[in-house]
Homo-oligomer: 540 residues x 2
């Protein structure tokens, strides 16, 4: 492992700062043809096209230096082998390994972290057996009928990644299998989902690593109450995905339990049992293994030291160039694929919870910006929504456009001489170039300044394997950025304060309820004053 | 109408700039109790709580001055009465009135824009008759059966607002009626929706003001092909919402046509027929009128000149304070209501397409930042996703939290002494205070700097009436900001360039297709080089 230093302590930092005073000008004329051909980086089924970034040879060389000096790839390798990277030196912290990559390190002779991978194999074997039981009828409902629906209850990492992958691959669903999600503590979320279901043929998959997540336990209780009202035995319907010996690890309450591990953060857990149980039910075991295969291939591609051969690392460095040197506070992720409708929501957690930090791995305040604000919606929808601001607003927004050469359902039609898929891809490419070049006009309202950087990620088709690769690509991008910024991308202390204040307020509500004069404390229009009654603000 | 001047030409601008050097400090101790009580603004069923904004008496007085000097309310009144506000002086522009408010100005004796409101009444009468026909069986399918499903095809404003409202009010659906949406030109979007439907009992509502929207026409053709394959007559199933005498205004092709008008921009059109037909089908005519009633009430509240009595105007000014004086490039909209899952996506279009501009209403480049980047997801989900960055990241993110005192389905349960609804609201209030006060700690990784501004919008319950009010509140917020920034919030020239380049590329694809050697031009990994073959970049 290299020494962990701040980015601005590296020699490449000054070089990049100097280069950023005159970044490559994309505007006015289209980039030369050879730029398109050479600014292309391939790995694990994806092409990263970056001709429309504001970089040139010297910037790329300095970014390579930044990667080398920070030891980004060495840190990545150390992570895969089980180094304790989830920590802050000299202060109380989680002190954990970071081994989500071990969950899919199944395809080479020698896994990087054999113990963790062997735990993954055990859980996969349990899952394969359970899914086979669903096929043969060994696992069935009270009347011996097959299960048709699964309700996945989880929040944050136990919801966003698995849900994004499910929607991404819904075209590959097994016939007669449907999945539904409950995440929010808003009771209307559970009510709306449970209403439409035949509970007798429904499995409920409850996912919480700690086994103590307020939202998830509350929604589990709402679901259990519905099963009880329907006269059904929850023990025949409820599955658990949780940490070993968590309060949820209780065979008396669940048909099956699957384990996740302390060395996997929630937002990195889609390829662990957190995603596996639901995705295996929906897509079949073999398709889930294909997701793991694609992820594993990208994990391998991420070991490459030449940034021009490593899509995840290059995307990370281009992001740092835009964030720290060109001063852009956000990045828009724009999948030109309706199936990726919730992929950006997953990336919001993955990226912002990992890298939305102000303290480095030595506990010092960091003097440069870290994780950007990640947002976006699928194209072409977004073009009819917020692209106005991306093209002509006062803020520069780097974009990452994700596209596929072929569609999933293979249903299409020629209209005005082109297919819908061609229309989709034409729009993606046209946006990328329009953002770069801009447009002159005598009408100032029709002027486009250009020089809006974009990157294009393209694969042949969104399949279980490319979905896995895409998931792993962004996981690696985020950790590479954290390594270069010298932050701990694996904890989330920032979520604790709100949780603590909410708990205090709920205690107060609970006490009020015992008071005969209780009139619904939270109904007070200036409800915050209750927070003071409940004893806030807090000191840690 | 007042003179239209740049914001930095107003006397209040300098005052605010001076005040912004020492903004109110929210951190360390909770705001005094009287601040909660007095920083409360009410209108049309909503409370706007703004004690956790970095404002005090002098800032509020200067913001009032800014509103007065810019003539924000006068411009709003002029808009309601039909002033041609969609224009750029001295340059070719749309030169249109802006009369979305007239669509719901039905509840007072004298509407502000009688002609536009009378057109709205005509369309509403047609809709009421059509919906009654569905009830009585006068309108039915080939076999005389009732329609159970409606597919809404539209994109941008013809999709996002209507969809957000539909999901917001799904709890109020009429039994046995379901709605589905197709928007994206991605052919998988249409395929996934059409697969699951019994087309014989399905209506298709095609929405495009111009009648020429590429995505919508393409998806309409995909749907018509599916009806043809099923041996069904599209003329018994397809509805049109379009401008009078557009290419889609063709009674030979549609069961019914409803009109929208040139004086309504797509992103402001949810309360016109663009939303009405689908929402009337799903919720019933009376519920749609309730949406209009709520919107109209907020439109009236927005006429108030005292910013402390006008929630939309105050929210607009607080946004300007955060954007222009405290330097925050984004705003996060965080509804603590799962039903509002797509409301932020609507606001992205409403806000960013309206105010993502760099040129003022005289065609000059604007010297200050305009529209922010709008993003967000429902709480408590977001708390488990990106709140880490909001609390501890290097970027300050103003937030707008939306909550309701009562839930929609009225199904809830006491767990650990409180209901889920109480948990939801406790979290909303706790976040607002945590962001403001922050927390000290000896562990630097557990420190929260605080001074993150938030505003809370709260109503009793999300109903058709409050949904309408919320929609109108944000419409008014956005136009007030545009008025103060001196920009045209009603055009979208920024979407044209990408569209033009895409068309050129598609022409090229079409020509290639006629070539026997065509091997799928867009399959070229460096597909952009095709753009050059197709003759880009563009000059207007």
């Amino acid at each position: 492992m290299p020494a962990l230093r701040n980015m601005d302590a590296l020699a490449a930092y000054e070089k990049l700062a100097a280069l950023s005073r005159h970044p490559y000008d994309l505007s006015r004329s289209a980039p030369p043809p050879d730029r398109f051909a050479s600014y292309l980086c391939r790995g694990a089924g994806f092409d990263l096209l970056y001709a429309t970034q504001r970089v040139d040879g010297p910037v790329l060389a300095a970014l390579q230096e930044l990667a080398d000096e920070s030891g980004a790839v060495d840190q990545f390798l150390a992570m895969k082998k089980g180094a304790v990277l989830n920590r802050i030196e000299g202060y109380a912290s989680e002190e954990r390994q970071v081994l989500h990559t071990a969950m899919r390190d199944l395809f080479a002779g020698h896994p990087h972290a054999p113990e963790a991978t062997s735990l993954a194999r055990e859980e996969l074997a349990k899952l394969e057996d359970f899914l086979a039981g669903l096929e043969t009828g060994r696992v069935a409902n009270e009347r011996g009928e097959a299960f048709t629906d699964l309700v996945h209850i989880g929040i944050g990492g136990s919801d966003l990644g698995p849900r994004a992958v499910y929607l991404g691959l819904a075209a590959f669903r097994r016939p007669g299998r449907n999945v539904h999600f409950i995440s929010n503590v808003d009771p209307d979320d559970a009510a709306a989902v449970i209403r439409g279901l035949d509970l007798s043929r429904t499995l409920v998959n409850v996912v919480s690593k700690s086994g103590t997540t307020l939202e998830t336990l509350t929604n589990e209780e709402l679901a259990r109450a519905a099963f009880a009202r329907a006269g059904l035995d929850p023990r025949r319907h409820f599955l658990a995905v949780t940490g070993q010996s968590s309060p949820m690890d209780n065979p008396e309450r669940y048909l099956r339990s699957f384990y996740m591990f302390g060395f996997i953060g929630g937002r990195y857990s889609a390829t662990s049992m957190v995603g596996a149980v639901m995705l295996g039910f929906a897509l079949g075991y073999e398709n889930f293994i294909e997701i793991l295969r694609g992820a594993s291939e990208m994990d391998t591609a991420a070991e490459e030291r030449d940034i021009r051969q490593n899509p995840a690392l290059l995307l990370a460095l281009l992001g740092i160039w835009n964030r720290n040197f060109l001063g852009c506070p956000t990045v828009a992720i724009l999948p030109y694929s309706q199936a990726l409708i919730r992929f950006t929501a997953h990336l919001q957690q993955l990226d912002m919870e990992s890298n939305g930090k102000s303290v480095n791995r030595q506990g010092q305040k960091i003097p440069y910006p870290t994780g950007p604000i990640v947002w976006g919606e699928p194209g072409t929808n977004g073009q009819h929504a917020f692209y106005q601001l991306i093209h002509q607003g006062t803020e520069i927004i780097p974009t990452e456009l994700i596209g596929f050469r072929y569609n999933q359902y293979q249903e299409d039609t020629l209209i005005e001489g082109t297919t819908s898929q061609e229309k989709l891809m034409a729009n993606l490419l046209a946006q990328s170039l329009a953002l770069a070049t801009g447009q002159e006009s005598d009408n100032p309202n029709r002027r486009f300044a250009g020089n809006r950087p974009s990157a294009v990620l393209m694969a042949d088709r969104l399949t279980p394997r490319t979905m896995g690769a895409l998931l792993a690509l962004y996981e690696a991008k985020v950790v590479f950025q954290g390594f270069v910024w010298n932050i701990n991308s694996f904890d989330q202390e920032g979520v604790q304060l709100g949780k603590k204040l909410a708990t205090r307020l709920l205690d107060h509500f609970g006490r009020c309820r015992q008071d005969a004069a209780y009139n619904g404390g939270m109904m007070d229009p200036a409800g915050w004053s209750l927070l003071q009654a409940a004893g806030v603000p807090a000191r840690e």
